[in-house]
Symmetry: C2
Subunit: 408 residues, 2 copies
Amino acid sequence: MNKIDGGVTTPKGYKAAGARAGIKPDRITNDMAMLYSEIPAAVAGTFTKNVVKAAPVVYDMGIVENEKIAQAVVVNTGIANACTGDEGYKNTKKTAKLAGEALDIDEDLVLIGSTGVIGYKLPMDKIEEGVKALAQSLSDSREAGEIAANAILTTDTHKKETAYEFSVGGKTCYMGGMCKGSGMIHPNMGTMLGYITTDCAIGQSLLQKALRIAIEDSFNMISVDGDTSTNDTVLAFANGMAENALITEENEDYNVFLEVLKAVCLDLAKEIAADGEGATRLFTVTVNGADTDENARTLAKSVVTSNLVKCAIYGQDANVGRVLCAMGYSGVEFDPCDVDITVESANGSVKLAENGMYTDFDEEEATNILAPDQITCIIDVKAGDASATAYGCDFTYDYVKINADYRS
Amino acid sequence: MNKIDGGVTTPKGYKAAGARAGIKPDRITNDMAMLYSEIPAAVAGTFTKNVVKAAPVVYDMGIVENEKIAQAVVVNTGIANACTGDEGYKNTKKTAKLAGEALDIDEDLVLIGSTGVIGYKLPMDKIEEGVKALAQSLSDSREAGEIAANAILTTDTHKKETAYEFSVGGKTCYMGGMCKGSGMIHPNMGTMLGYITTDCAIGQSLLQKALRIAIEDSFNMISVDGDTSTNDTVLAFANGMAENALITEENEDYNVFLEVLKAVCLDLAKEIAADGEGATRLFTVTVNGADTDENARTLAKSVVTSNLVKCAIYGQDANVGRVLCAMGYSGVEFDPCDVDITVESANGSVKLAENGMYTDFDEEEATNILAPDQITCIIDVKAGDASATAYGCDFTYDYVKINADYRS
């Protein structure tokens, strides 16, 4: 597979659009987006595990579970449509109906995504105008994909896209994705809005299975602030227009597809981690030598989620004691006296702890290694062969500023 | 029982001291403290559940478990003596030996507390001088208790003490306490250094039982930053010098004792929450109507720990959606459509959500209610009769500043 410049409109048959509906009165950017497949596509989804689920999450879960195909998604930002009761659910259904009419497709083929403030009601007059504008401006151009990727953002500082070219059964296929997410990000399914398109032909149950696997090491391994959102949704569409033989079993074609899907999810997840609210650095934590995959994941997530570790990364402080502390309260049993910890970046690499104790590393050198905008911490617990990697960011004044000043 | 002005030297037979050993080269404040009972006292302890335990925690656990009596505690700040291997443990034992010599008591009657940077080694020459100075300046005066309470602080902004007078079997008894804790504070046993003294006579096993119960609704219900420390320790001493009949069963005397111990623990725990690193407000969350005590605790802790909720409290933003979101990812099953949420303070009270939906509260009024330095959020989940209260603080720029700039 080859990574290429592209996004959700890169695969055959997909169109996208962005529009300004005026849901956020104080902003001039687009606040609605639409994604459309020329023909109905197999659809798979993963959703927040938060008990408090937004109306569009409940709605989409029903469509994915019962219909298994879809042709369009409408996304609004500004209002999450969560904690809005029956009226919120009706507004989601109404949005799907409006989109179905505007696109001349069955309303059950339309999925909905919302992100923004919890508790507010959708301004349905503005949504209606937005849906019409979106349907009229759909395009399969590269630019249309970029417009849509920009239109779904909230406190994100830039759009997040990726695309791959790959081959299945002699046919060239494409997969593209876009996502948003900056705050209320914590590893527990979905953790953001993500939309993935492919023209590869694959059965819906295999698509769902592949998506569940792909999110495990990507979206489920990122954390910005430990808060799992009410609206997290990842949807994957496969419309089959690449005309490869339909993938219906876990054969070599499926393995190729799964690898591409994993790459798309990981690209997007890392973009979210690096663009965490107020973040100045992508912080990657790899745990090696754990006894089980689950323990490796738990340890890596605990370190990447620790406020104190994140503050130290921001301050370029090689505070390896906080890393050990965060591992220690993760709930995983391990022997602290076996742990090695190394940090590395474009400026080099230094071992900070060996067998659970500080090495006599040079503080100045360590501070310099922690300077670049991508920092990796590699931990060896010497208890087995399992590994996992988690992605997060540093913790800055701006995180507090963004979340104290703005009802997001 | 009556709350009185006092601290660890208030009960009969206890002396305290503070001294400057120079462990923190950049500070002029005392960095060592000693607490001493004229006669051996029954001792109970609770300790961090972090897998990575500091040397003094491992040491104290052994003394409490095996000896069940003690006569002195030596505390140093500046260095946590965690992740220091065998040498760290030997240094803890050496400190106890030095104190035993200076006080002319068995070294097994000396407990040790350390708090500060993880990974550094104790400067034993300075510790030795400090122990001698402490032993020479011990006093049972009220002032000596204050000096000790000040000497155990790190990033705390002020000392934390409390004291009660109570009656057991016709005898007047006293209980006093001091603690420290500002960062690396999260509900999971201990979460700080706390020392409680009483002259009441009570058997060690009942003292241990009472302490375990008392910390459940106090120290275990506070959170500053979600990081459970490597050094958390709460020790309670009972030297029997009030000359009441020894409490050996769970009778009326025990119940009185337990109530006083609960009050001491809660006073100290709330002081820690209010003095969280960078905090400007004590934030109290009460969950009512839960189906079980455990679920009530989990919900209250999840809300009080959420970074996004804490930022909103700092920003005086009545962002009730974040409260619902934090309840939703706590792991507790409940019906979001039943939840009522009210905030109150010295400026009044306002219901923000009813049956899971925003009320049309007045934003200006809500902002005004969130202005004072003590804010309470009352949540009713309408699923049963269980209640719990958690204590935390708001999240400010200064938390990040303290933890990015200072290897603490």
